[in-house]
Each structure stands twice: as structure tokens, then as C-alpha cells.
């Protein structure tokens, strides 16, 4: 369902409520489903707005390492994390500079480790570099820009992933959906009470 038709549907619903002061539950639930389905149609190939194709390829590989495919469950690439970061950066000069500079730093660092650039390095070379810049304890004048950039990239990849349909499913968030009643979560209660025997 396109965004426009969804909006029309919502508007009709609002008008119906205003006109009659009443709505049935079926209509209410329909809104939830429309909202949930609305995004599905929007997918398509992404054209970077800020990054060059080479930079985008590097960023996409970086996000893939931050949130990889896990036991067949899709990760950052399928969730389009690089595209979202590129979009946000296209609207924010500060972020744009962070990514342009940071991705260049990755290539330079990889060259000094014997690869052509970050994206074309072997997975072992890539993770060896990440094992250094993914931890503050490795802080050094040489690694400082890499550590700072990786903190940005990790934070925003995580944001992009867990706000995507794939990430929301991965974290198993079950809310924002209609229920006919609110049942007692007996299994969860039994679980937590067993773990706090003093209560």
C-alpha cells in the first residue's frame, strides 16, 4: 500500500470517527495492519546521496561486519543500514564529514596493512583492524581517529538496524499491535519470580 493510499485510509477513518463518534474494532485493527504493511512496497535499489559508490561499498561492508548475518537471520546489509546512514548524512554536514573522513581512514589504515583498500581486503584483514578500533582500550595516537569513527558507525548501524523491520523482528519486540485483551504474562512472571527468591 502506498503512503498516499495509507494516508487516505487513515483520513477516512478519522472522518468516520468524527462523523459518527464511533468506530468498530475491525476498522481499528485494519489501521494497524495498513501501517505495518505500508513500508513493504517502498523497497528498491538505493542510490547513494552523499557518498561515492566506492565509499558506499566500504560503508556497507563495515555495517555487515558490525551486524552480520547470524545463523541465517539477516543483518545490516539486508536491513539497508548503509543507505539510512547515507541518507541522514546527506542532510547533516557534520555527519557527512565524519563518514567521508572515517571511510578514508579505513582505506588508508588497510593500505598500511597490505591491502588495496578496506572493502577489497580479506575478511581476516578487516576483522583484524576492527578488533583494534572497536575497543577504547586500544587507544593510541595512530588509532584514535579510527576508534572515534568506529564508535559513530557502530552506534548508527545499531540504530539503523533496530529501527528496521528486520531489526525489530530480530530483537523480538512484540508491541505496537492491537490486542483484544491484555492477558496476564504468566510465563514471564514465573520466570522472574524464580530468579528473585527473596521476594
Amino acid at each position: 500500500m502506498s503512503d498516499i493510499s495509507r494516508r487516505d485510509a487513515l483520513r477516512r477513518l478519522g472522518l468516520a470517527l468524527m462523523a459518527t463518534g464511533a468506530l468498530d474494532r475491525v476498522a481499528a485493527e485494519e489501521v494497524h495492519h495498513m501501517a505495518a504493511d505500508a513500508q513493504a512496497a517502498a523497497a528498491g535499489p538505493y542510490t547513494p546521496r552523499t557518498l561515492t559508490p566506492a565509499e558506499f561499498r566500504t560503508l556497507e561492508r563495515l555495517t555487515d561486519l558490525i551486524i552480520p548475518v547470524e545463523n541465517g537471520a539477516p543483518g545490516a546489509v539486508a536491513a539497508g543500514c548503509a543507505a539510512w546512514i547515507d541518507t541522514i548524512s546527506s542532510e547533516n554536514d557534520q555527519l557527512k564529514k565524519i563518514y567521508k573522513d572515517g571511510l578514508a581512514w579505513l582505506d588508508t589504515a588497510m593500505k598500511s596493512r597490505g591491502a588495496a583498500n578496506f572493502a577489497d581486503a580479506t575478511p581476516a584483514q578487516q576483522t583484524a583492524l576492527l578488533d583494534q578500533i572497536a575497543f577504547r582500550r586500544n587507544q593510541s595516537p595512530e588509532l584514535a581517529p579510527g576508534i572515534e569513527f568506529f564508535t559513530w558507525a557502530r552506534r548508527m548501524t545499531v540504530d539503523a538496524f533496530y529501527t528496521s523491520p528486520i531489526g525489530i523482528k530480530d530483537i523480538d519486540y512484540r508491541g505496537n499491535s492491537p490486542m483484544g485483551s491484555y492477558p496476564e504474562p504468566t510465563e514471564a512472571i514465573a520466570y522472574v519470580l524464580k530468579r528473585v527468591p527473596t521476594l
Binding site: G14, E70, E91, N92, G175, V196
Partner: protein
């Protein structure tokens, strides 16, 4: 400026469409009285509410249109029904040197009721007689018995969740069935019980049964975004839209009231307002006027209605208009509770919190070093992931890949928050007045705020700190550093960048406005939080931050000390009524909306009767 005056004389002109204005409009319309309702903002279209929207349905996903969540600046209220904030373009207010105050305003039909926390608490019998009880503050000119029938009416109309408990500090109402407690709420309840504290079902303005054409709550947990099925309460869709169907109500949107005009007898004859769509000034004539523009806006309107006959502003011979400004005392603390880690997932949304803690020491004040009391609102659960939800956990655990993901999973939903909401004693140092030098974009003089917390409030927060730590540690919680005024847990705020533990659901009041706990100072108004720790280092909320401002046009029997009588009618101007939180004499630890509605209902019935008798 061009002025347009329609010659029609309206029986009642209501200024403002929130809880007070919405109630007055609905009650009068049902009694057959015609109402002209002025609202400073636009009409609300329910289709515009973002109730069920997912983060990925907005291109920036809550980070702000220009990624402000990352590099600074307000991200706005991407998903909520909030239309407004502490900073409104071209509508400043000022704060006196040495004071710190935040004023949240909403410009939309229904006002702040579209998004507020919907905590619905009756004031207790002793709350109406605070001075008689402990010698501090002032008594109300009415008693619990006077207001109880109107609490009843409000609850029947609105629908309020809850359970009958027989607790004196928390009078029972007419409740519809509450939702079941969630797992973290069971832990909180049991931890409280070990400390001798009773926690009970929350009292929320949400109908869980079909009511007047409104379907029951569908437990989607997005109440702060407004409710497309009108299952929760907002003045717009529960009162004003139905009232409009009677044919008795005319709504004028985008009408920013400037001043009240009076005749030689001192009665109000017209309301002057700016038509924001054209920028021109207009007047509507009236037999009676009801101010319900919000506590401080109604105050501003009276103070700006100056004339040679009313040099201190209208209805202000007492000089008390603007005085005794109060907010709620706020403090929050959160903890990571290991027992919740690995719990079988379930939908924790419901209608927000299903548990709250009424004040439990109302008969123990001899053992305390502060007067009055507070209640506790609770938060927790698996909040909808948003921008910033997991920043805290990944910055602590570092690394990348599957191990990082597992850390996120382990911590998701383990955060529990407690928010204290307590009573402030009115004082002479907290008030608002007209700033002599600043006007808004409409040319209307703005308010200047003065604010001071006293030891009463600071000691209350110290008590909250000790109590909350005991409750949280009693359930094995690891208390997060600090604790602060405002909200317990911003983690499910899509624009949060606080890096707190992830996934917790904010307590209900938090949903009132994602950033209200730490609203920014208005432009050009540096706060005083700087050189030395304010408030003796006690992490009390900022004045105004809980958005419970009340008391600046108070009611009372003595015209020398109170602008309004016991029907919220101006002592000096018989056809002028106030129906928001301005008439409050105290600010009990009961969120004000329920009392605004009950009081406005009573005022509207009185007004209709006085109109019928020809007395006004």
C-alpha cells in the same frame, strides 16, 4: 491593525480547548447552551495522529530531519501527538535572573490532552484542606464532597482504569477493569510490599470497555501519540467532536486571544484575538467568557487585559493573579534488573503502566522531615526500539558482531524506572508576571517567570531517592548512576541519545512529551544551572518540567486574597470564569487533569444555571 467585530453576542465564549475548555464546551452543549470556542492552534485531524507508525516509516526514523539526534538540536516530536513544546517559534517567555523554569505550551485542538500521560487521580479529602492539616499553604474553598460528584461524572464519560482499594490518599472512583500487571510490575509490587508500601493498579484515562461509541482500548501502548479509536481521553475526540454534533458549538481555530474587553460596569463584553491565518485582529462579543487557555496563558490574558479601570489587569484587585505558581516535584531513578534478562518475551505495551504506588505515609508525617507526599509511577518492559535505544549498551560492551548483538538482547527489557510525583507548597518566590519589555510575534506582552523550590520539596526528593533505591535494590536491581528530575527512563524515546539502558518503557508521564523532562531554556534565556550546584545538589526536576503548572488565578472565599470564588467565577467580574488549572489552591500529588475536568464540569453547570437565571 484592522479590527473586525461581529455583532453577534455569544452566550459563552470559551478560550482554549484542553481538559478545561473541552469539558466546559461539552457540558454546556449538552445543557443546550451555545458555545464559541477559540483555539490558538489548528483543528486536530485524527488521521494525522502517528499512533501506530513504526520508526522505519519516517525517513529519519526519529533522529530528526537533519539528524539532530546525533549532532545536537531538538528532534521534535516525531511520533507523538504533541503539537508544541517549551520553545514555540515567535512566542517566547522570559525567566527572571536566578530562576529556572520551563513552560510547555500546546497549540492544537485538545491541547496537551492529545498526548498527556493520562494518569487520572482524585484528590484526597485532606488535599482540599492542606492548611488545616499541617499549617502550610492555603485551604480550598470547596471540599472533597463538593467535587466527588464531578469526579464521578468525569469517570463515567472518560473511562478510567483502576481497582477499588480503600486507601485514604487515593480515593476510589468508578473504574473500568484494569489490565493485568506485567512481569516487572509484579516485581515492583512485591519489592514495595516488603518495604510496607502498597502498589496498586494504575488509574489511567483509558476505557477498557466500549463507551459512548468509543471502542475499548486495544493495548497498542502508543497512548502518547493520541488514540485513533478515541479509547483514551483527549478533550478533542472525547468531548469537542461529540459536542460539535449537537449544533451548539462553533470552533474558531488559529485564534490567539489577546485580551478581554470590558464595559463601564466592569463586565467582559468581548474577547479580542489574532486570527493567525490572516494576521488581523478580531473581536467576538460575549455574555460570558470562560478562560481555559492553560494555567499561565489564562493568567497572561487577565494581566494583559489592563485598562484605566483595571490597572493591574482584569479581576486582579487582590494582586494575586500570577502568584502561587506551582509545578509537581519530580525525581526519577532507574535500574538494570538482572532477573528480567532472558525472560520469555511478551507484548509489554498495554496502555502504558498498569501499576502505580499511591502515597503510603499520609498518616506518618510526624516521622518525616517534609510535608505532604508523592506517588510513584513505574516504567519498564520491551519498548519499541528507536534511535538511541541501544547506544548505552553498545558503548559499554564495545566490540561488534554477534557478541555485541547478544549483549543488546541480554539487556533489552531489563530496565525498570520509578518516577516520583510530589506536592509542592506554594511560595511567594514562585510566580509569573508580564515582562515589561518583551512581546511575542503577535505583539502580545509575554510572561516572565520566577521560580524557587524550598526545603519542603528538596527533602521530599531526598526521601524519594532513599525509597526508590530500596525498592529497586529489593528486586536485585543495579541502580543507574544519579537519578534525576524528570523521567525515569528515556530509552524508548526514539530521539533519545542519553545512552541509558535500552528498551525500557517510560512511565506514563514520560509519554507526555519525549523531551519534557529536560526541556531547553527559551532562546536567549540562559539557565542558572551553572556556577554552583542549584537546589543544594538535590536532583529535583526543573520548575515547569513536569508540565503540571497550576495555581496562578486561585479560588477562595476572600476577594482580598483570591481572584476567583468557589465556582471559579471572578469575584470582581461576574461574567468571567476560569476553567483550567489556574484556580487550583494547592498542587496535591495527584496529576492535575482529573481535577481540571471535575472542576470545569462543576463550573460549567453553575454557569449554565446562572445564565438561565439571568444572573450573568
Amino acid at each position: 491593525m484592522a479590527q473586525t467585530t461581529n455583532t453577534t453576542v455569544h452566550d459563552v465564549v470559551v478560550v482554549g480547548s484542553g481538559a478545561g475548555g473541552g469539558t466546559v464546551t461539552k457540558v454546556l452543549a449538552d445543557l443546550g447552551v451555545s458555545v464559541l470556542l477559540l483555539e490558538a492552534g489548528p483543528m486536530l485531524n485524527i488521521a494525522d495522529l502517528k499512533e501506530h507508525m513504526w520508526p522505519y516509516q519516517v525517513s529519519h526514523r526519529g533522529a530528526g530531519a537533519r539528524g539532530q539526534a546525533y549532532t545536537g538540536g531538538s528532534t521534535g516530536f516525531t511520533y507523538s501527538a504533541t503539537y508544541g513544546g517549551a520553545q514555540l517559534e515567535g512566542e517566547p517567555y522570559t525567566v527572571a535572573p536566578g530562576s529556572d523554569f520551563s513552560w510547555f505550551r500546546s497549540r492544537i485542538l485538545g491541547g496537551r490532552t492529545n498526548h498527556y500521560g493520562r494518569v487520572t487521580l482524585r484528590m484526597a479529602d485532606y488535599d482540599f484542606k492542606p492548611k488545616t492539616t499541617d499549617g502550610l499553604g492555603y485551604d480550598w474553598p470547596i471540599s472533597y464532597e463538593d467535587l466527588a460528584p464531578y469526579y464521578d461524572k468525569a469517570e463515567r464519560l472518560i473511562g478510567v482504569t483502576g481497582s477499588v482499594e480503600g486507601i485514604r490518599s487515593a480515593p476510589d472512583g468508578i473504574f473500568n477493569p484494569p489490565g493485568a500487571l506485567k512481569a516487572h510490575e509484579v516485581l515492583i509490587q512485591k519489592s514495595c510490599a516488603k518495604l510496607g508500601i502498597r502498589a496498586v493498579s494504575s488509574r489511567q484515562a483509558v476505557t477498557t470497555v466500549a463507551r459512548n461509541g468509543r471502542p475499548p482500548c486495544h493495548y497498542c501502548g502508543q497512548c502518547g501519540r493520541g488514540c485513533m479509536t478515541a479509547s483514551n481521553y483527549a478533550a478533542s475526540y472525547v468531548q469537542i467532536f461529540p459536542a460539535m454534533k449537537t449544533g451548539k458549538v462553533q470552533v474558531v481555530a488559529n485564534a490567539m486571544a489577546r485580551e478581554l474587553l470590558t464595559d463601564a460596569t466592569g463586565k467582559v463584553t468581548a474577547v479580542s484575538y489574532i486570527d493567525k491565518t490572516t494576521g488581523s485582529e478580531r473581536q467576538v462579543r460575549c455574555r460570558t467568557v470562560v478562560l481555559a487557555a492553560s494555567c499561565c496563558e489564562s493568567t497572561r490574558l487577565l494581566l494583559n487585559s489592563k485598562s484605566s479601570r483595571h490597572p493591574q489587569g482584569l479581576a486582579n484587585s487582590s494582586g494575586k493573579v500570577g502568584r502561587y505558581l506551582m509545578d509537581t516535584v519530580g525525581f526519577s531513578m532507574s535500574a538494570m534488573v538482572p532477573a528480567l534478562s532472558g525472560m520469555p518475551h511478551y507484548n509489554t505495551d498495554g496502555y502504558g503502566s498498569h501499576l502505580y504506588v499511591p502515597w503510603w505515609l499520609w498518616d506518618k508525617h510526624k516521622t518525616l522531615n517534609f510535608p505532604r507526599g508523592y506517588h510513584i509511577e513505574v516504567g519498564g518492559g520491551y519498548g519499541m526500539p528507536g534511535v538511541g535505544s541501544f547506544t548505552g549498551v553498545v558503548n559499554r560492551t564495545e566490540g561488534y558482531g554477534v557478541r555485541m548483538k547478544q549483549a543488546i538482547r541480554d539487556e533489552y527489557g531489563t530496565s525498570v524506572g520509578l518516577s516520583g510525583r510530589g506536592e509542592m507548597i506554594p511560595n511567594e518566590d514562585s510566580y509569573c508576571e508580564i515582562d515589561p519589555g518583551v512581546k511575542d510575534k503577535f505583539g502580545i506582552p509575554v510572561l516572565r517567570f520566577h521560580w524557587k523550590w524550598s526545603d519542603h520539596e528538596l527533602n521530599q526528593v531526598r526521601h524519594m531517592q532513599e525509597t526508590f533505591r530500596a525498592i529497586l535494590e529489593g528486586m536485585g536491581g543495579q541502580v543507574n548512576a544519579g537519578g534525576r528530575g524528570g523521567r525515569a527512563n528515556q530509552a524508548n524515546n526514539p530521539s533519545s541519545q542519553t545512552g541509558q539502558r535500552a528498551g525500557g518503557q517510560a512511565p506514563q508521564t514520560g509519554q507526555a512529551g519525549p523531551q519534557t523532562g529536560q526541556a531547553n531554556a527559551p532562546a536567549g534565556q540562559p539557565t542558572t544551572m551553572g556556577q554552583q550546584a542549584p537546589n543544594q545538589g538535590v536532583p529535583i526536576s526543573r520548575g515547569g518540567a513536569i508540565i503540571h503548572e497550576v495555581g496562578t488565578v486561585r479560588m477562595g472565599d476572600d476577594p482580598r486574597t483570591s481572584p476567583l470564588n468557589k465556582y471559579c467565577q471572578a469575584h470582581e467580574v461576574k461574567n468571567l470564569f476560569v476553567a483550567d488549572a489556574a484556580p487550583f489552591v494547592s498542587n496535591a500529588d495527584k496529576n492535575p487533569t482529573h481535577t481540571i475536568v471535575a472542576l470545569a464540569w462543576r463550573t460549567a453547570e453553575y454557569l449554565a444555571e446562572e445564565l438561565r437565571k439571568g444572573n450573568v
